[in-house]
């Protein structure tokens, strides 16, 4: 039996102390409420835990990627621009490393920003408004530093480095700048690079801050030269301020090299020849001579060996952030006029009446149309009266019968007047054969040069007269001027009056004469290559010549005439080329153009000095040269001696005796 011991409950002897408060006991109501609170606590913490689990453990990788994406910004790294080479690989344009002053706007102080800009302006010699403009252009793009000035001088670099603390946000960075090893060589051809323009941006191929070819070959072959920008990743904070150096993630692909057909030495010679030609013209009292163009092309392929224009400029004015004052003659029309348009490429965009250099065109066309036989003599006289108008020969004393070759060599005007008249006399159903042939030889239209910016010239036709001289535009004279008259044909036959050509078109025609009747497409670029590898060719440009239907026999008569022009005693430029050891054939031209040469506000007829020709004539001709000296007088006075200089350079030979200033047509 178990003994159950009952513990007696404590008994109270005394009543409760009334001063002692009745202890508070938890009521069922409070217990319930505590239970509710406990449930809430459990629920809340369960929610927090599960949410955290979902975010961090289940979706953690996804948010990690988002966080990394947050702070990495991709920025572009400009590729080095490809070089431009001459035909032998000489560097005409390459890159050099320059130092640019750039600022990260996010790091510039808010207060004192103006003071910093003023100081920078004084150091960099860039006006404050210009700096502010550049900063404004990059507003909202804190990831691209704003370039304040490119190509700093050593002094500027030292000063900025020593006083770095005063310019928070300023960085000195190496950038590629265009380098012109040959100085002012062929700037109108090579062109220049510059900041992308608003218009180019709209095309969609470029982006803000790109450096883009803006003229010349830099422009027309930009897609090869510019290369592919690389990508770099940059760590930034929430305000977009970079916190690390850019890490290359995609290497930029440098631009391809452009191998041109130019010969740097010949180009230099051509430019010098123009200066010489202008000088010679002035010595011979053609004091208004102030400009000119020269072009040398290979008649076999159309490859341009040299293309010069005068006046010219130094392409280095475009390097870095250019000084607006130096650029004014190139950009501001008024300043350009004062400097006689140094930016104009007169060889491709200069329009001149060709004068007598056009006579071979007339001759070829006349033979093709059977208006004259190759050896058929026509009278050459001092003047000629046609329908009541007297047309003078440049040489008033001549009076003999001449065959075509002689007429070309002596540049007999009346001979060609007769041909012009014959063309005029053709029945209407023949159309305008002279113009038709001139057009077949490439006149009146662009040659397709890969440089762009060509002028097409003007090949006047009866239809052109009808369309141009309307009542609305010429209320006083339209009734007469709209008619094609005999004088128009006669003048056209000697390359005068309305006809306008570019030196390039002329050179192309003489190439046709030299190569036996093929119309070449002049071009400046022969291939695009991987730079540095010397020959990993990416693309070749060799436009095929077009056959023009000319009779070789007839062409030989022309060649003969042109040879005699430089060698026969009566030849117009025999005094210049006669003693040159390499046989050269070519034609002078003295074209009258309406120019205000003396600056009195009234235009007068001034002679434009022309010479076009080729050599060697005893072998396959390898060079065609065309030179025009503006207001230079007779063709033999200025243009022919200048052309000779180019041949001398090309063949490496010198003419022992040169007569300059000869007054022949």
């Amino acid at each position: 039996m178990a003994t159950v011991t009952r513990i007696p409950p404590r008994t109270r002897f005394m009543p409760r102390d009334p001063r002692v408060e009745e202890p508070y006991r938890m009521t069922p109501a409070l217990a319930l409420r505590l239970g509710v609170l406990g449930a809430i606590v459990l629920f809340v913490f369960a929610v927090l835990f599960f949410r955290l689990w979902a975010l961090q453990v289940l979706a953690g990788d996804q948010y990690l990627a988002a966080a990394q994406d947050n702070q990495l910004r991709t920025v572009r790294v400009e590729a080095a621009r490809g070089p431009i080479l001459d035909y032998r690989g000489r560097l005409l344009v390459s890159n050099r490393i320059g130092t640019a002053a750039q600022v990260w706007t996010a790091y510039m102080p808010r207060r004192g920003r103006q003071r910093m800009l003023r100081r920078l302006s004084a150091i960099l010699m860039v006006p404050v408004p210009e700096l502010q403009k550049r900063l404004r252009e990059h507003e909202g793009d804190p990831l691209t530093p704003v370039t304040l000035k490119e190509d700093l001088t050593q002094e500027e670099i030292f000063y900025l480095k020593e006083n770095r603390r005063d310019f928070p946000g300023l960085e000195l960075n190496d950038i590629h700048l265009r380098d012109y090893r040959y100085g002012s060589l062929a700037p109108q051809v090579l062109g220049h690079v510059g900041d992308v323009t608003e218009k180019q941006l709209n095309g969609g191929r470029y982006r803000h801050g790109d450096t883009v070819g803006q003229a010349g070959l830099e422009f027309s072959y930009d897609r090869f030269l510019r290369g592919t920008a690389g990508l770099a990743e940059l760590r930034v904070d929430s305000l977009g301020r970079p916190r690390s150096k850019p890490l290359r993630s995609e290497q930029p692909q440098p631009g391809l090299a452009l191998r041109t057909t130019l010969d740097a030495k010949l180009q230099r010679a051509a430019e010098d020849a123009l200066v010489y030609g202008i000088e010679v013209a002035r010595e011979n009292d053609h004091w208004a001579a102030d400009a000119g163009a020269a072009i040398a092309i290979d008649p076999r392929t159309g490859a341009i060996r040299a293309i010069a224009t005068n006046p010219t400029y130094d392409p280095r004015v475009y390097v870095g952030k250019p000084d607006p004052r130096e650029l004014r003659p190139l950009l501001d029309p008024k300043a350009a006029e004062e400097e006689n348009f140094p930016g104009l490429n007169r060889a491709t965009a200069g329009l001149y009446p060709p004068g007598s250099t056009f006579k071979p065109v007339t001759a070829l066309a006349a033979m093709r149309e059977h208006l004259v036989g190759p050896y058929e003599p026509l009278p050459c006289t001092g003047k000629m009266e046609i329908h009541g108008t007297t047309f003078n020969n440049w040489n008033p004393y001549v009076n003999e019968a001449m065959a075509l070759a002689t007429a070309l060599a002596a540049s007999c005007d009346t001979y060609f007047y007769q041909l012009g008249l014959d063309f005029y006399g053709l029945p209407p159903e023949y159309g305008s054969p002279l113009q038709k042939w001139a057009s077949a030889f490439g006149f009146g239209k662009a040659t397709g040069l890969d440089l762009g910016g060509e002028a097409t010239g003007l090949l006047p036709t009866p239809e052109w007269r009808r369309k141009t001289y309307t009542k609305e535009r010429y209320p006083d004279t339209w009734e007469v001027d709209r008619l094609w008259k005999s004088g128009d044909s006669v003048q056209l036959a000697i390359g005068q009056k309305d006809l306008l050509v570019t030196p390039l078109q002329m050179a192309r025609f003489y190439a046709l004469v030299a190569n036996g009747g093929k119309l070449v497409t002049p071009h400046l670029v022969s291939s695009v290559e991987q730079p540095g590898t010397n020959g990993a060719v990416k693309a070749v440009f060799s436009p095929a010549p077009k056959d023009v239907n000319v009779d070789p026999a007839e062409l030989n008569v022309i060649k003969d005439g042109l040879y005699r022009a430089t060698h026969a005693t009566y030849g117009t430029s025999a005094g210049v080329f006669g003693s040159f050891p390499v046989p050269i054939a070519g034609k002078t031209g003295t074209a009258e153009k309406s120019v205000d040469a003396d600056g009195d506000g009234y235009a007068e007829m001034v002679d434009q000095s022309w010479w076009c020709g080729f050599g060697p004539t005893d072998k396959t001709p390898e060079l065609v040269v065309c030179v025009v000296i503006e207001n230079g007088g007779h063709g033999s006075t200025a243009a022919a001696p200048a052309a000779l200089k180019i041949f001398e350079r090309h063949f490496g030979r010198e003419a022992p005796v040169v007569e300059t200033g000869v007054e022949t047509d």
Partner: protein
């Protein structure tokens, strides 16, 4: 010291060893688990703040953590001090407590420093005192006193209305600072006080309904009818968490960056230097309102869970204090404090992980901020004082 009598009768002579025995009992009756949880929270918080704010003050990576440690020290002194105050004192001087609360808020209104459009602080030179933080504790003490004084009448709706009216005044002061977050905390303290003082369920249900209708009106219906009670930006911040993709650069920017920060922390965190959201300033207010997101990014799910467990421990021990409180007043005070802490913890953490509206509520014991740190430690001191004097 430990005074079990509510009214103070003349003390009987004590046995000479009684003082020692009383001191031993005092120490033994402390809730050491809760104290350990709080100490761990403060320590963990300081460690987290150290990592989070390394980059924030140029040249002084320890700036925030040093200050925060100083405030933790001040708060600890306050905590120990509070142990020796019988909570009944607060009940007796509840009017003074209320006067102090309103007085401080009025002073802020007059001499307060405006920071980012909000006037919450009094500049005391070495630190910016935020009375509304301190007011959380004062409000809990005052409301508990008010309700305890009503005794059995606490179940009357009239009492409830009086309590609401008394709490509304400081709440509105805070609301118009403007500081919506703290105003909400005041509301939570009011609800908790009523709840534990014994307000009837029916009255609580009515309050909940009115509250819900009011919130719906302020946030959705009112603006739709053209009545704007809140500034639009405030409303946007409060509602942005419901659809973070709606305005990712505006009101929802903080939420998105915060969620990204939390998520990117993964299981074990990205460390101090790897936590780019925090280090590169994508995460705004990462030392105060979004400190939990920064912590989660740096320490991952593991770190965040440790913190959550510490809060859970603290609150569990807090519930125990409510259950064993000596009298209704003490239970109400403890209930208001515990629920206040729970509410702040949930809203702050919930806001950083996109399940609660964005309000400027600091994370107790962790967010940088002297006033909050000291107040929270004082509140723990009051809880402990109640625990010592438990049944």
């Amino acid at each position: 010291m430990a005074d079990y009598a509510a009214s103070a009768p003349p003390r009987p002579r004590r046995h000479p060893r009684a003082d020692t025995a009383r001191a031993v009992s005092f120490v033994r009756r402390l809730d050491w688990v809760m104290l350990a949880a709080v100490a761990a929270l403060v320590g963990f918080g300081l460690w987290a703040i150290d990592g989070i704010t390394r980059q924030d003050v140029a040249g002084d990576p320890d700036y925030y953590v040093t200050r925060q440690a100083m405030f933790a020290l001040m708060g600890t002194v306050g905590l120990v001090g509070a142990l020796f105050v019988d909570p009944s004192v607060y009940r007796r001087y509840r009017k003074a407590v209320y006067g102090l609360l309103l007085g401080m808020l009025l002073i802020v209104m007059v001499v307060g420093t405006e920071v980012r459009g909000s006037t919450r602080w009094i500049d005391l030179g070495f630190f910016q005192f935020q009375p509304s933080e301190f007011g959380k504790l004062l409000l809990a003490l005052f409301l508990a006193g008010l309700l305890a004084e009503r005794g059995k009448r606490v179940t009357e709706s009239r009492t409830t209305l009086v309590a609401i009216g008394a709490a509304a005044l400081p709440t509105l002061f805070v609301f118009f600072q403007p500081d919506i977050g703290t105003a909400l905390v005041y509301g939570a303290i009011l609800v908790a006080a009523l709840f534990f003082a014994g307000t009837r369920w029916r009255d609580l249900a009515v309050m909940a309904t009115v509250g819900a209708v009011l919130a719906a009106f302020v946030l959705w219906a009112g603006p739709a009818m053209g009545v704007e009670i809140l500034e639009p930006y405030q409303r946007d911040r409060l509602t942005a968490f419901t659809d973070p993709s709606k305005n990712p650069r505006g009101a929802a920017y903080n939420i998105n960056q915060s969620i990204t920060a939390v998520g990117s922390g993964g299981l074990d965190g990205r460390g101090v230097t790897g936590a780019t959201q925090t280090r590169l300033d994508y995460l705004p207010e990462h030392e105060t309102d979004f400190v939990f997101a920064a912590l989660s990014e740096q320490r991952g799910f593991v770190g965040a869970s440790i913190l959550l467990c510490l809060y859970l421990l603290l609150i569990w021990r807090g519930i125990r204090v409510i259950a064993t409180a000596r009298n209704p007043f003490a239970a109400t005070v403890a209930g208001a404090i515990v629920f206040g802490l729970l509410f702040q913890t949930f809203v702050n953490i919930g806001m950083t992980i996109g399940i609660a509206p964005i309000t400027g509520i600091p994370l107790p014991f962790v967010s940088v901020g002297g006033s909050a740190m000291v107040t929270n430690l004082l509140a723990v001191g009051v809880l402990q004082a109640i625990a010592i004097r438990r049944r």
